[in-house]
Amino acid sequence: MPGKLKAKIVAGRHLPVMDRASDLTDAFVEVKFGNTTFKTDVFPKSLNPQWNSEWFKFEVDDEDLQDEPLQITVLDHDTYSANDAIGKVYIDIDPLLCTEAASIISGWFPIYDTIHGIRGEINVLVKVELFNDLNRFRQSSCGVKFFCTTSIPRGYRAAMVHGFVEELVVNEDPEYQWIDRIRTPRASNEARQRLISLMSGELQRKIGLKVLEMGGNAVVGYLQCFDLEGESGLVVRAIGTACTLEKQSSGSLVNTHTHPNTAPASNACNSPSKDGKEPVFGEDLPSSSGPPTPFRNLPTSSSSPPPFSPFKPCSRQSSSSDTDLSLTPKTGMGSGGSAGKEAGPLKTLLRQQTQTALEQRGASSSGLLLNAREFPFFTLTSFPPGFLVHVGGVVSARSVKLLDRIHNPALGNTRSYKLLDWNSVTADEPETRDAWWEEIRQEIKSHAKALGCHAVVGYSENTSICEEVCILSASGTAAILNPRYMREGCLDIGSTDQRFDDPSPPSCGFCHIPYDELNMPFPAQLTYCYNCRRQKVPDVLFTTIDLPAEAAVTGKGCLIQARLCRLKKKAQGEVNATAISNLLPFMEYELHTQLMNKLKLRSMNALFGLHIQISVGENMLLGLASATGVYLTALPAPGGIQIAGKTSGDLNNEQHIQAIQKRINDTIAKNKELYQINPPELTEEGVGSPIPEPRHRSRLFRSHSESSDEVSELDLSHGKKDAFVLEIDDTDAVEDIHSLLIDASPPTGFYTCNTETMPGIYNWTTAVQMFTSVRVLRLSNANLSNQSLNKIFTDLCENLLKSFYFKLRSNIPCCLCHLNFTVAVPEEELIQVSVTAVAMTFDKDQTQERFITKGGIETEEQLQFPLELCADSSSTNAQPSSKFSGVPENTIVSPRDRCSTWLELLRLKAHTIRRGSVKTISSLEHCSPLTEGRPRSLRSSRSFGGSSVTMVKMTPLSFLPGTRIIKYLGIINMFFIRETTSLREEGGVSGFLHSFIAEVFAMVRAHVAALGGNAVVSYSMKDCVLMENPNKNQAQCLINVSGDAVICVRETDQEPMTSMTNIGQTCAADGAT
């Protein structure tokens, strides 16, 4: 009995009328945890009941504390018939299990019903008393901190990064159980919500156990996803990076750049590999006896060919070859490479062979045996300085699987039943989900190895499911990390490998190629680094990580998207899966070509935050690649784009080509100006500074036949070697060029990126506006061609962006950061695009000053902004004054801290809004000083109400500009289902989804506020699954969101009690502030 959970139900407000006769409600509350239920008294005839209950106490295992949510049900008492449920609140008590996070949950929660939405609010207090349990074999992992943030959280220092943790939990989906036929939709939805809540709790606990085993105390970059597989079940899976985090004390500010290597004592004992023989990157890290540069030699020393298939010989970019690599798994071949795809049954064997080959390689170079279970993957996307040594390029892998429902051996109550691999023809050896992912991860690992890298950073996994077909994807960036940060006590690895002592400057070091230039895994143009001139760099660099803060960048960046639709025939089962896996390579290739062209068109040479999503529908595949393009100063200038016609001689055609060529050149010139790309002219043709500009262009052909013969033929015909040529040989190509040019650049005052911040913009104001937008398009014409589909899809994305610009015009000048597009094909002929992003306003005056202190301008009066909008005299509710005193002492954020940022936002709005300007007079009225207690002046009574609502900021970024995070309160991970049988009455699908998203935001904010927080960082909407049936007037939607609840204060505020500064993250913070 290692824990006592206590809950108190205080009051309700705004309850719905449940009794038509009296227009009132007789409400009472059931509080349930595990199998124990308590009830409050009925508070008769009120829409604002005051239960003020006793403390309900649950004595429970900490294992249950982690798995189970506290379930609060509000009901209407009915003497004669069954009590009607008003709604529920699920409270995840995980944040209370961590001493450093929140210590009490206290606040108003929206009462949520899956059919009616939010129906009033309930005020609840929750506390946990944990008893120390030293049982070594415990199943709980209380105390392990979880962060969605994909960097080292602010205020912490990574004492050690342990590496990849993953786990998945499988269950039957209650929606597809037989009982679902007889129960109400509400019961079914609630069963689902509860199950997923339980599963995420269990998953988190299991991951926590793994972290403890590894000796860590936190998971950073925690990414949890749901796979709704329909009848074959429900999968909840998560990946993350295990770390040992240390709170930064004010004393250790200076040395954070070098991250002292002292591991905590506990860590040394707990770590399964304290002897140092099995470092985190076991297979890659050389022991002291190994050759000095084992990585570089890796491909050479290996006897087996690098495991990627030579699909596209003419593509010369590192990342393109990475996407090549990713083609292999679609054949179901694992890392087996070029052996045929029909070799299904042989697959495992082949993989084993490859495996052994890899192992041998690993052994030969480092003398260590490969531990196949361990993956050197990191879900982090930004790193402390010095952490990232070199970046190889994007590695990705995809695999098409068939979710088998016929041969499902475990329909019943087994928790993890097996699913069949469509590729294993024999069907005798069904593979589990674990095995599928294992296979993909192996693939990724081998790709990274082929790039001479020992690690994969910015790693993520996702799925797309349509009926019984499932595409599993994983991607990341191959990289070499500084082992000093990985493993303490691992002696002199760092010093033996010269690359870790590489004195290359941080502004370009990461661009330097990690692979051996004589033995390149793919054809690429190498030049000496334009920054340091000492090492080779590729001509283009694609990565999935954030732009390192120390990177030297010329000009600004912008969002670059490649969009693609491919029709496919409707099919079933294996035929369908095969069709999809056959299409995938072409899609990846096309997406890559588009990205490359658009990058060149913007005169940029690197992509960050690359995310390629391929979504499968019944009759089409959608591909969307988003990334932020920048011009890395270290990389060579990109060449232009040459247009070539195949049928020369035709005068008309020639003119046409010239016209297009001119447009392209103009666009490039315009973009250069727009993004302020003026690289320093290199006059000296030094040793490294290579090939003169015109020749220094890579070639890429836009044609479907890409045999090497044609390459040479074309080379001759144009005589311009290495020119980046777009060839117009058919209408396809013309369309492509048009679509290339169709992308409108953002209007003046707007910048876009899908990374954390935009290079070249430093002086953010505190004005942030997070938003979610969803658009669904119905394709009315069934006989669309690929081309017209592409156009429709492209327009859909472009129009969305245009809408954002317009909606957010009052925030100008601003940058839309972390633009995260998600595509889906919910039904045949439907395309759904969901976007979550944040608009961040910056000061027009783009001084290079990195730390702008805005606080000075603030007048004292404005800062004193009442947090609590005082109660009106007539509101007689005896709201206990403990409502806010419930906030723990150590998390005190003075009202002015919480709100002054808001005020600034308002002020800024008032400044920047052009039309329909904000009335600021009244806001000043509200600003009446509230310092002397809580005076209830007549003025403030205008904003009455029994309590106050804390403003909660939300952002998909890991920080809020102009503020300092002083405390992480825990992870927010919520799953909601909403269903309606009166779609028309709710304003159609748009009305339905609009209110649902607003409700989800409200519930997230309420939970954060109840934890004592005032912001959510690293917020993301992982799933938004909408199903509609307008004919039946029905719709259902599932939304999954996550983020980190935090307390932040204005950067300028002195907070003596919490003087930890976030130097550990200066890399990110610098860019941020």
């Binding site: 007539s874 509101s875 403003m951």
Partner: protein, 357 residues
């Protein structure tokens, strides 16, 4: 190919004041888009018609969802669904409760009943206010009326606190409630020249001086009902016109004071008895509910119209009424000074307001 669904939800609810006004004014989405296009919105941020349409739809949806909260503004401040900064909340409420003077002029003094609501389309057609907007305004009046009906304390303050309105708007609503409650006749042709603001001013005067609340601020409906006792006492003023001596004395006092101060002196002298009879008769009849309703029409017929036909200026009116009121104090046999002041104070300011040159 059609957009099946299109939503945009901000963590901080984005609301455009211009669109809000169009929504309040009862424009349909398509009309609103046209208005916005005509207003030059297309030039902003490279917008096109689709963008405007999508934005307008989004905003309309948001407003519709907010409407429930706006109807009990207190909820807006502590609801959780929309995160709206306090000053924006104030703006939303203030605008929601704002009304068109032309519209309110039509329903002023009418019973806020279903019957009146049925006539809204006629009123809409007459005033050029859309039916949707008429309904909102009418429902607002009704809602405010219902809430304050049962409350103790000062009317204006109650409205201000319950509906979180500005002082000005709260006063206007107080006037509307007061008129609706006492069913003052305002629709007659002779009263057409008066604006809502004229009436609102008069209502303020009546509320402050003639209601129960003017003497005792603890009773229910104190600001809505006229002080019955006071109305009874008004009967005593009759002596001013029934007692021939008193009337003559009064006249001579006033004429002495006015002589040489105005061009209209002759008319004033000639009309004194008529005018005085008119004003005192109004006072004495106010115990009848019917006559209360006709209070404004009586003022116009018995006083304002005769003066206007004699081309008095506003200054003349002021001068006359001042001396008329003050002279009564010098009359030895007139004992009802307090009631007289309470009565004439209001009459004076109402007539000033209602007398348009």
């Amino acid at each position: 190919m059609a957009v099946e669904l299109d939503v945009f939800v901000g963590n901080t609810t984005i609301m455009d004041e211009e669109v809000y006004q169009l929504w309040l004014d009862g424009y349909t989405v398509n009309d609103a888009v046209k208005v916005r296009m005509a207003g030059g919105m297309l030039d902003e941020c490279e917008a096109n018609q689709d963008v405007l349409l999508s934005d307008t739809m989004d905003q309309y949806r948001t407003f519709q969802m907010c409407e429930r909260l706006l109807q009990s503004p207190a909820k807006l401040a502590n609801q959780l669904l929309f995160q709206i900064p306090p000053h924006r909340q104030t703006m939303l409420i203030e605008r929601y409760y704002a009304f068109d003077d032309v519209f309110v002029r039509e329903v002023l003094g009418k019973k806020l009943s279903k019957g009146t609501k049925k006539d809204l389309d006629d009123i809409g057609a007459k005033t050029g206010v859309t039916l949707k907007s008429c309904r909102r305004q009418f429902d607002n009046f009704k809602r405010v009326f219902k809430v304050v009906e049962e409350l103790k304390g000062p009317l204006v303050e109650n409205i201000r606190q319950h509906f979180l309105l500005s002082d000005k708007l709260a006063r206007d609503y107080a006037a509307i409630v007061f008129f609706a409650n006492n069913r003052f006749e305002t629709g007659k042709k002779k009263l057409q020249y008066l604006t809502f603001q004229d009436f609102a001013f008069c209502a303020g005067q009546l509320i402050n001086n003639w209601t129960v609340g003017a003497v005792d601020n603890t009773v229910e409906d104190m600001d809505v009902d006229l002080d019955k006792e006071f109305l009874q006492e008004l009967k005593e003023l009759k002596i001013l016109i029934t007692d021939k001596d008193l009337l003559d004395q009064h006249k001579s006092l006033v004429c002495t004071a006015l002589r040489g101060k105005t061009k209209a002196f002759a008319e004033m002298e000639a009309n004194f008895k008529n005018l005085s009879r008119g004003l005192v008769n109004i006072a004495t009849k106010l115990t009848n509910t019917k006559d209360v309703r006709d209070f404004f029409i009586d003022l116009v017929e018995k006083f304002i119209e005769p003066c206007r036909s004699d081309r008095w200026t506003s200054a003349d009116i002021k001068l006359y009424l001042t001396h008329y009121t003050n002279s009564a104090h010098i009359l030895d046999s007139f004992k009802h000074q307090a009631v007289w002041d309470r009565y004439m104070g209001v009459i004076k300011s109402c007539i000033y307001k209602m007398y348009h040159d």
